[in-house]
């Protein structure tokens, strides 16, 4: 898994460097979670909509759409589309838009996101539809950023999920404690987040969002669970590159040539 995530992290940096823009910090905080979900937990056919059991797939929504590079790179490394496409990230006419777009029909992309605070409502709608269709095979996984939870619409949808008793929905919070302007605690604190989620009716799990075994174990457990589950994944923004870790400044900045080299060396070591 470490080899896989290292390769994915390197591609994320190359994409952002090539595009001269993008969001490395938040991509690196969630990339381990994404890797485990796609490789070990979720059932999403590589053939995508050509698969006969396409409808039975698990649904994944990257509500924090700015971490698109993490999703694109994981999908490409898993084989949903060619790694060559990664070079087009943020380029005119590319299927790899700055933020995920379902319009471009890129295999693996379920929904369009980018404007924060909307993915969970979409997930609630999908979970309701799956229940109406009596689809018991599929689970909806929604990954949010912690900063994103400052959006009021998130709490509207948390209430809705509980009210509808959605046991086919899993909320994952990539809790890296940083947002563009600094620390989440200073700007608009979400604490105590676990208590809040419990009060909203969720069965809450707190894990180390960079520990592959913990992620896998917990995600498999919540996938089987018949309760409404939320996983708070404690993460490090910029995880994997020493000079990016825990630096809000690396939220939305591309590395220069020298920084790219240094980071790639660290990831190769």
């Amino acid at each position: 898994m470490k080899t896989f995530t290292n390769a994915v992290r390197q591609d994320i940096l190359k994409m952002i460097h090539n595009a001269k823009s993008g969001h490395p910090g938040g991509a690196f905080s969630c990339v381990d979670i994404l890797s485990v979900l796609y490789k070990k937990v979720m059932n999403v056919p590589i053939e995508w909509d050509k698969a006969i059991d396409f409808n039975q797939r698990d649904r994944f929504i990257l509500s924090k759409g700015h971490a698109s590079t993490a999703l694109y790179a994981v999908l490409a490394h898993c084989g949903y589309f060619s790694k060559d496409l990664l070079k087009g990230f943020r380029m005119l006419g590319s299927k790899l838009q700055g933020h995920p777009s379902s319009r471009t029909k890129l295999p693996g992309i379920e929904v369009s996101t980018g404007s924060l605070g909307q993915g969970l409502s979409i997930g609630v709608g999908m979970a309701l539809a799956l229940r109406l269709d009596e689809n018991k095979d599929s689970k909806v996984f929604v990954l949010m950023g912690d900063g994103e939870m400052q959006e009021g619409s998130v709490w509207e949808s948390l209430m809705n999920a509980n009210n509808q008793h959605l046991n086919n929905l899993v909320v994952i919070v990539d809790k890296n404690n940083l947002q563009i302007d600094g620390s989440t605690c200073d700007i608009k604190s979400l604490e105590p987040l676990d208590e809040k989620l419990k009060a909203f009716g969720f069965e809450v799990y707190s894990i180390d969002g960079h520990n592959y075994e913990q992620i896998e174990q917990t995600m498999i457990e919540v996938k089987k669970s018949t309760k409404l589950c939320a996983v708070i994944a404690n993460t490090v923004k910029g995880k994997g590159v020493s000079f990016m870790e825990n630096q809000a400044g690396w939220h939305g900045k591309a590395p220069n040539d020298e920084q790219l080299q240094k980071a790639l060396e660290e990831l190769n070591a």
Partner: protein, 316 residues
């Protein structure tokens, strides 16, 4: 095409009844509301098919996001609340989630325009058409009587893609006979004249027809065009009429900024530059009042429209 019998009916009831009829034929239809199901009449659908009705509570952003999720899974989704809350409150969700992904969500907003009445400015959506018209891939439809409301809802249920349909709080007089067929691809000429063109839709169409009758009495003959589909705007009927009359008046229960009047000007400046007079609420908020009083105050009754057109016709 026009009905002789001017029956008065509630378009909201017709909306609710039509949903129930459609729901019987199509199990894929789901309906969402944001705590106004008795007012929007989506409660009729709830009573008929409770498992396919979702009340999202007083949370319009969540309602639009949930609607999007249901649509991603192939459902035909109707989402309703008052026009004020169905647009501005959740504009980002409508733009970035519903329209950007071309989802099959029909926003059917009731209580559009000044005729909300006594509730006043906070509930009078005078800008909703402007918001909705500016979003790519959004269709915007404003039917004028209950016969048309029914046909528009049926059309929406059978046509993929995002739509915004605005229906008023007030009861509507029957305009169209049973032979009238709603056509999404054209403006409809419903009165023939030569001196000016009047374009309208929604609640103001009946006022325009009455005003045209008064104009006829003083020798002014108006072409009256009904444009239920504000977007995409089909220019041909308007262009042909404007090239003939050279004078165009637009009447709508909406701000003169961004609504039907703007759509008409955008079209005419390209196809048939004409003198255009837009009748609607000015750049202003509404206020409390009885529905007819408000129509009078903001110049949207047949009498006021007639008077304004008489003055306009004198302008050289």
């Amino acid at each position: 095409m026009l009905s002789k019998n001017q029956e008065i009916k509630s378009p909201r009831n017709v909306y609710g009844e039509t949903l129930v009829e459609l729901g019987a034929k199509n199990p894929n239809i789901v309906v969402l509301d944001a705590d106004l199901s008795c007012s929007t009449q989506t409660c009729k659908f709830k009573n008929a098919y409770p498992e396919r009705f979702f009340n999202c509570g007083i949370a319009e952003q969540d309602m639009m996001g949930t609607a999007a999720g249901l649509a991603y899974e192939g459902k035909t989704v109707f989402a309703s609340t008052f026009a004020m809350f169905a647009t501005a409150r959740c504009l980002d969700q409508i733009r970035n989630t519903i329209c950007y992904s071309k989802l099959n969500v029909k926003i059917v907003a009731t209580h559009g325009g000044i005729t909300v009445g006594e509730d006043g400015a906070s509930h009078q959506a005078l800008e909703d058409i402007a918001y909705m018209r500016s979003i790519p891939d959004m269709k915007v439809i404003i039917p004028s009587d209950c016969n048309e409301v029914k046909q528009v809802i049926e059309y929406a249920a059978n046509t993929k893609g995002p739509m915004y349909i605005r229906i008023p709080r007030t009861n509507l007089k029957t305009i169209f006979s049973s032979e009238y067929k709603f056509n999404p691809n054209t403006g409809v000429k419903i009165r023939d004249g030569k001196d000016l063109t009047i374009v309208s839709n929604g609640e103001t169409l009946i006022e325009v027809l009455n005003a045209a009758e008064k104009l006829h009495a003083v020798g002014i003959e108006a072409d009256v065009l009904h444009y239920p589909v504000v977007k995409p705007f089909h220019h041909i009927a308007l262009k042909e009429s404007a090239l003939k009359t050279k004078k165009v008046v637009v009447v709508e229960n909406h701000s003169v900024i961004g609504g039907l009047g703007s759509a008409v000007c955008e079209t005419l400046c390209h196809y048939a530059p004409s003198k255009v007079y837009r009748i609607g609420t000015k750049d202003t908020f509404g206020q409390s009042g009885e529905q007819r009083q408000l129509m009078e105050f903001y110049g949207l009754t047949d009498k006021k429209i007639y008077e304004k057109i008489i003055r306009f016709m004198d302008v050289k």
